[in-house]
Symmetry: C2
Subunit: 285 residues, 2 copies
């Protein structure tokens, strides 16, 4: 593809471009983001670049996936930085849709899943995954990707999208990519920008707690309550840390596992001051 | 296209066929049905045939759009007759998916509209339009149609599908086609097969009532309650007829119109014995 990145803001122009690729038998890789890009996002771009003829990245802070008291209005933005990072990453098209065009007058259609959105983040963020599933389906219908790339930090989101795509017979292949971490283990997230220097140090407790779970798994501990207590103890060592949830779940159904045998996922959401962070680690053998 | 109709039952085979058409730059016209085909369906096939390079018709009695006490299990079926009618109509592919494949294990994703499904048929058939929107989106993702054809008898369904396609950025064009009627005016419907000879005669009251509304409109009557009373009077002349709803609505929003000025739609659902029939007529100038 071209070495110059094209920026598209209109849905019509995006679909026209995508349809030309399809008719030209070129594969499209897609990385949907909310911007304020970090190395986690760029690892998705790299993977997309290596597996497709053309790469589209979108930047859209999707209002329908934020609750009323959440951080939609203050979500960090850096359009120029994002654009430069994506260009350097070899993206062909940066798609920046307008909220008014994606959610026009009398908008009323949503994609709802009955079970996967209920536990974990869904409990404290009702409607969040409805917003995510809806905007992802809309973007897929506009960008026509063969492959779409998502990070594993947002594991519940990844599972919701996989299930939605399977259930609605969407032809896009969903590629889950490993979480990218800071040198001290903190999972990269645009929301890390909210942390004060003191909170940033405390935030390492999420990764520490996951490593404690990994250690227990390696010692063949099977009682989930032992894991959860040990993880909680590590989190609450930090004065500004309050767990939202800490669970061991089945990676497929996201249901709580009372006993840890084969594949299990340690997952957590923790508030560090006012900033809600999530992380997870596979305890598969 | 070929003169021999192909019957496909697997989702994978259907999508493979459709993708070949797309890559060959052939347009696909699609007529989704629940089978037991009548001349109304065949008028959709005819239109699709005249406007596309390839034509797909599906026959699938969709379980998710039937309520628990509705007629899913007894819905009339005639696979051989349907196949012959579609072949004669010039259909290239008859797609007959299996319910088990369309709604596999742990199926949990639905398309929900917030407003259009609430009035009219939605009141007595909760969940019906959720099932319709979901299966239509699934079929579109499998058949990849450029154009899809729906009858206007199911006007609320047509509006729900139009809105869903617009909201979710689906690229398929929705073509609404005129209701086809029996010589005496009864709208063609697979459910007419449920009517006894006596009920069949009484069923003409739906069309009669709509013609009464048309007559009032032509006399520039503006008070919706006058229309509704006149229509109801005609329906209840029949001993086995019980109106479910009789309304004058805005054809776009489906909201009740107290005053009839420009575009209005007279809509009704009437039970004739145990058979629920629907019909509508545009009162646009």
């Amino acid at each position: 593809m071209a070495e110059i990145m094209k920026t598209i803001t209109s849905i019509h122009d995006m679909t026209t471009w995508a349809r030309d690729r399809v008719l030209n038998r070129e594969s499209i890789g897609f990385v949907p983001t909310m911007g304020y890009l970090h190395d986690g996002h760029l690892s998705l771009v790299k993977r997309a670049r290596s597996e497709n003829d053309a790469v589209v990245a979108s930047v859209f802070v999707n209002p329908t996936q934020f609750g009323q008291n959440e951080d939609f209005t203050v979500y960090p933005r850096d359009p120029d930085g994002d654009s430069e990072k994506l260009r350097s990453g070899g993206v062909d098209v940066l798609f920046i849709p307008e909220a008014d065009e994606l959610y026009g007058q009398d908008y009323e259609t949503y994609v709802e899943l009955e079970r996967l959105p209920l536990p974990l983040c869904g409990k404290s963020r009702p409607g969040h995954f409805r917003g995510v599933a809806t905007v992802v389906l809309k973007l897929f219908n506009i960008v026509l990707p063969n492959n779409a790339y998502f990070g594993s930090k947002d594991f519940q989101q990844l599972q919701v999208i996989r299930r939605m795509v399977r259930d609605l017979n969407v032809s896009t292949m969903i590629v889950g990519c490993p979480t990218v971490r800071e040198p001290d283990g903190l999972a990269m997230s645009s929301r890390n920008a909210y942390l004060s220097p003191v909170e940033r140090k405390q935030a390492i407790c999420l990764h520490d707690a996951l490593m404690i779970a990994k250690g227990l798994f390696d010692k063949t501990e099977t009682d989930a309550s032992v894991y959860i207590k040990a993880m909680k103890d590590r989190i609450t060592e930090e004065s500004d840390a309050r767990p939202d949830y800490i669970s061991l779940v089945d990676p497929e159904t996201l249901e709580d596992l009372p006993t840890v045998k084969d594949a299990a996922l340690a997952v957590m959401a923790v508030k560090i001051g006012k900033t809600r962070l999530i992380d997870n680690m596979s305890l598969a053998g």
